[in-house]
């Protein structure tokens, strides 16, 4: 008997047996299942990007949904922000990906234009979220033409954060109001408190790393916008152009570099990109920094660690206004989802007041925002006020330039200037050149 025949004789009975067993199993399972539970059960995958410590309330909200919706079960997944966009793009183009995804404000339009997100307009018309679309903030960021690719979910910004006791000891009775005041106050707060001959308290700290996800980008934009400038602007004819000259950028670089040259900011922060770095978060607690710049989640982490109270306050004012970035997240539906209607229902739930009872983020809805702001402790009240000064990256998104690329170029050139690799003039010129290249690339 040859090999092929042996294989055939073994394989066929095995296949027949396997099929019989699975059929029998299905019959038994169906018989054991009560009639109402045999209704279609949907499983959705929801993906978000914040670290576990910041989403305990969100997990509770999702658990509550699962308890109330046995036929629509949601699996919660986290992919860190730094990998989130690339992974989402790859998966959706490969036919996979989560059903509902938390997406950054600045990504939504690009993803939508590329056909990687579902148009939500039909869903919004059939079953409006919250108090209606008009109640949502920054909807234009996820809108391309007459399509809406993401529902604004949360908004965030950054504020100045400081140790009131250290300012008091230095004789500073109120927090500096302008950028120049900040520089002067930070100098007064830079001290050798132990008399060891070395500075052990720095006036102002921020993660000044050169990485593409560093925080210098946010401070630089706050400075520019507050002084009436912006990296991108529209000319009188509606054409987008780079809104700053090399001299403008050099001025900003000169301002922030002065913190390093005058040793008001520790040089080691040139190697730190992330505000959640232990050196940053613990700096206020240890008293090694008197003033920093944090998002709300990082402030809360720092407040837990600090034996002394810390407080949030507004970003400094420029010559024109006070400003900070208005960041945020949208919720989007994957075009590959097999359950678009259920995904929409879950999305609406995430945007509802029920979720924000436990999820300690700021909702991107005016009605809900007022509720959340009312619950804020005293030390965080400034955050709510700072949101009113928030400026979104709308102009950058609509200019067509790659916002991630602008972010990376800004941190890179500022980092090169901080570390002495480039002069201020060189850095300013190179950054404007990079912005022009990104704008040109976006127009192609």
């Amino acid at each position: 008997m040859n090999r092929a025949r042996v294989l055939f004789c073994l394989l066929v009975p095995a296949v027949v047996l396997a099929l019989s067993l699975s059929a029998a199993g299905s019959v038994l399972a169906a018989a054991a299942t009560p009639p109402q539970a045999a209704a279609k059960k949907v499983e959705l995958l929801f993906r978000q990007g914040d670290p576990p410590g910041e989403v305990e309330g969100l997990v509770k909200a999702v658990d509550a949904w699962n308890a109330a919706h046995p036929n629509i079960q949601v699996k919660f997944e986290t992919v860190p922000w730094k990998d989130a966009q690339a992974q989402l793009v790859r998966e959706i183009q490969a036919g996979g990906g989560p059903d509902v995804a938390q997406v950054a404000f600045v990504w939504t339009a690009d993803l939508g234009k590329s056909g990687l997100l579902t148009d939500l307009v039909p869903f919004i018309k059939a079953s409006p979220p919250g108090k209606g679309l008009q109640d949502f903030l920054a909807t234009e960021l996820g809108t391309v033409g007459d399509k809406i690719y993401g529902l604004p979910w949360t908004v965030d910004t950054a504020t100045m954060v400081y140790r009131p006791d250290l300012l008091e000891k230095a004789g500073i009775s109120r927090f500096p109001d302008t950028w120049e005041d900040l520089a002067r106050a930070a100098k007064r707060l830079t001290l050798d408190t132990k008399g060891s001959g070395r500075t052990d308290q720095y006036g102002f700290c921020w993660p000044a790393g050169s990485g593409p996800d560093g925080a210098t980008w946010f401070l630089v934009n706050a400075y520019l916008w507050s002084n009436g400038k912006s990296f991108m602007k529209q000319d009188a004819g509606g054409k987008w152009e780079v809104g700053v000259s090399p001299q403008d950028v050099a001025g900003v670089m000169r301002y922030f570099k002065s913190f390093f040259t005058e040793k008001v900011t520790p040089e080691s922060l040139i190697a730190v990109s992330w505000e959640g770095d232990p050196e940053m978060v613990g700096s206020l607690a240890r008293g090694t920094c008197a003033i920093t710049n944090f998002r709300l989640a990082t402030f809360r982490l720092a407040a837990k660690q600090s034996p002394q109270p810390i407080k949030m306050t507004l970003e400094p004012k420029g010559s024109v206004k006070r400003a900070s970035h208005l960041g945020g997240r949208t919720l989007a539906i994957n075009p590959n989802t097999k359950s678009p209607q259920e995904s929409w229902e879950f999305l609406k739930y995430l945007a509802s007041s029920e979720t924000f009872k436990t999820y300690n983020q700021f909702p991107a809805q005016k009605a809900l925002l007022a509720e959340v702001q009312a619950r804020l402790p005293e030390a965080e009240k400034a955050y709510a006020e700072q949101l009113t000064y928030g400026t979104s990256f709308r102009d950058y998104i609509f200019s067509g330039a790659n916002v991630n690329g602008m972010w990376a170029a800004t941190n890179r050139e500022f980092g090169a200037v901080f570390s002495g690799q480039k002069t201020i003039e060189q850095g300013g010129a190179d950054l404007v050149k990079a912005m022009n290249a990104l704008l040109a690339e976006g127009k192609k």
Partner: protein
Amino acid sequence: MGVTPLPRLSPAKPGSGGRQALSGYRLRHLIEPYVLLLPALSVLLVFFFRPALFNIVLSFQRISLFELGRGGKWVGLANFVALVQDPLTELALRNTIFWLTAMTVSLRIALGLVLALLLNTLVIRRWHLSGLARSLVLIPWVTPPVVAVAAWQWLLQARYGAVNQLLVETGLLTDGIPFLARSSTVWWAITAIVVWRELPFVVIALLASLQSIPDEIYEAARIDGANERRILYHVTLPLLRPVLAVVTLLITIWTFNNFLYVWLATRGGPGVRTQVLATQMYLEAFVNYRLGYGAAVGVLMGLIMLVFSVVYFNTAFKKSLGQA
């Protein structure tokens, strides 16, 4: 017991089963090696050759991360021209060749050789410390790279790091040095991380080779009046040369396209001081969304690696063929 008899063949007749059986047997023997190689070849084809080919195709296109499904625009050699003209490419290439590869490989070979010789000394063997010593040497290698970099970042921290605290307490410095933030020290810091984490492989490879050198050769050298220094230069090192060559080439290939250490430690900063080809490729493809341009960087890296690989194969297989 005895030799297995060959299958009985019927007398050959035109179109008969006998000739067919013989040609069937020969055909099976002919194709059998390829059939056995098929699973491994399939894996190589699917997971290595196809992606590499896809990368080459991408490098001739202007395509963003969002256009993978739709395809990009064919631009011929434009990405390569832009790559050559980009001043960052020259910097990244210099950093990759000199700092990331040449410096760390030289240090690893030198230190690896010294450690291997130390671990092979009579003292270590007499006190039965070989096992313990080998285990200690392996500790960096079993530490995940992410953990290793995080630990080193803390060690090198200017204010709280153990390295700076030691240097300040002993009076060698008056103030801590932010090793990873300063242009003049950042590459030394990354070199320390890479060497610490990757040294064990060199030590273990060289130690294994040292331990395979017969003791009789050393005895003969001593009888001939050679001192330890002469034995090292005229006996040990020449015998280690083949392994040294192969290890050097292997770690050169592995280090040249390394992304992890630089990215985790500095993200290519401060500024662009530690930008290497691998980080440039990542930034162009996944931050700037210029997938085609990033692929071109990958092709450049692949071409350079091809040269190293040819040298490696010639060295490794020429040696083994020569020994055969």
